[in-house]
């Protein structure tokens, strides 16, 4: 699953950090998988579901990666 998230169109790290700064949620589909991401002040969580299998991650602080190759949060971000 990780490889799917890390392939394709990717925004620059700085651009992505700017987008996901603050708090909010986004969901997207990518490479046959569905991704749901949430960022709050204290941490973030992500669920990636492919072929009936879901894997979850959570971390402290600001998320530092890219989601769905950069299409999310652009496509569906709801900033609270």
């Amino acid at each position: 699953m990780n490889n799917l998230l890390n392939s394709g169109q990717v925004l620059s790290r700085n651009e992505m950090k700017k987008i996901v700064a603050g708090t909010g949620q986004c969901s997207c589909s990518y490479g046959g998988c569905n991704v749901e991401f949430g960022q709050v002040a204290t941490g973030w969580s992500m669920a990636v579901c492919c072929n009936g299998d879901c894997e979850s991650y959570s971390g402290s602080g600001q998320y530092g990666g890219t989601i769905c190759g950069g299409q999310c949060p652009n496509s569906d971000l709801q900033v609270a």
Binding site: G52, D53, Y57, G65
Partner: protein, 376 residues
């Protein structure tokens, strides 16, 4: 987890003649985890081991005839397409109430979308993002997480009140369950070591209680084990499971564990999830932190104590056969044609929310964008 020793125990039990149905074994020592906090919970009640591999799985072919919501009332100006993740629904009478993005839709008994309430925003009756909903005999509660509040409606979707809460947890699977007396929310109270917040329905402003310990302390990994799936029934029983762990707890209305179920299965062993022992791992994204793969994904506790849950593509039914005695009863796997013209090309359906009522299953899936109804 000591799966090997469990495997031998189950093998020994299953090889006996006149076996209890599907190899359920009561009061058997169940495997411990690497997490001392969680292991303490395992000591609190008798347990039943259930072997999910021993039940035959019925394959159900779902067709377009099983789709609900292919038509809409003229009152709805736009077609409804359900998002692949985050759609939640409930059933009151013959109607389904479907929370999808920033709206709650009503689907009538004929499967026609009738109306909706809500839109994106911060005002009364508006929602920031995807909503979690639950209901009791009087209310529908919508967890408007990203606005930091709960909005309570009557069954006609008239907004009754909005209550702001101090929500700060980052877990996406935070869900809620309502009884006539209490609201249970899978979001830790601020500053608490518990995972589930409790509010009394007649005193919604003040948190009444909290319970269910965080098994991974803040800042440590694997954090997703703190994600809770919870459901309640009219008898004020609660069913609780932690994401990625093959245990399901049945609690009474005093929130004491009455019984716990351990599910042995090939599926779980193949998940190869990380140990539940808290460790410090630094990382900023999913590539540098341990992931936890889901075991139970959806779970429903019915009023008669029957438990339905999904594992992978399968739906399982566990029934109470006596006080604190449970048995695996049935299992299903749902498939749909990928396109109407290719009947040989079937694909499995990944259930993302469900209701089982009167031997009918209502469900939404990861990729189809519709609600379905099928008999069980």
């Amino acid at each position: 987890m000591n799966d090997k020793s469990l495997g031998w125990k189950v093998l020994a039990v299953c090889s006996l003649p006149l076996l209890i149905t599907y190899c359920s074994s009561e009061d058997t020592a169940i495997p411990q985890t690497e997490n001392q906090t969680f292991n303490t919970l395992l000591q609190e009640a008798p347990a039943t081991i259930i072997d999910l591999d021993e039940v035959p799985v019925d394959t159900v072919l779902v067709t377009p005839d099983n789709m609900l919501g292919t038509k809409r009332s003229s009152r709805l100006s736009e077609p409804v397409f359900l998002s692949p993740m985050g759609t939640r629904f409930l059933k009151i009478g013959d109607s389904l109430y479907v929370a999808n993005r920033q709206k709650i839709y009503v689907l009538d008994e004929k499967g026609v979308w009738q109306r909706s309430v809500g839109r994106q925003g911060r005002g009364p009756g508006e929602f920031a993002a995807s909503i979690r909903i639950s209901h009791n005999s009087e209310y529908i509660a919508a967890l408007d997480y990203w606005n930091g509040r709960i909005q309570v409606f009557d069954h006609n979707l008239n907004l009754l009140f909005t209550e702001t809460k101090n929500l700060h947890d980052s877990h996406l699977s935070n869900n809620l369950a309502l009884t006539d007396d209490f609201l249970y929310m899978g979001i830790p109270p601020h500053g608490s070591e518990d995972l589930i917040s409790v509010y009394k329905m007649d005193d919604f402003k003040n948190r009444f209680d909290s319970f269910w310990p965080k098994i991974i302390p803040d800042g440590l990994q694997p954090g997703p084990y703190n994600t809770i799936i919870i459901d309640s029934n009219e008898s004020n029983q609660l069913a609780v499971t932690n994401l990625g762990l093959p245990y399901l707890f049945i609690l009474n209305q005093e929130k004491r564990i009455n019984h716990l179920l351990y599910f042995d299965s090939t599926y779980y062993r193949e998940l190869e999830n990380p140990a539940a022992k808290p460790v410090r791992i630094e990382g900023k994204d999913e590539h540098s932190l341990p992931g936890v793969r889901s075991f139970i994904q959806q779970m429903q506790l019915n009023d008669d104590g029957t438990i339905y849950f999904t594992v992978g593509y399968n739906l399982y039914e566990v029934i109470p056969v006596a006080t604190n005695k449970y048995q695996l009863n049935r299992a299903w796997h749902f498939m749909i044609e990928e396109s109407p013209s290719s009947s040989e090309n079937l694909k499995s359906m990944h259930i993302t929310d469900m209701i089982v009522e009167s031997d009918s299953l209502y469900f939404v899936t990861m990729s189809e964008g519709y609600l379905f109804k099928t008999g069980l």
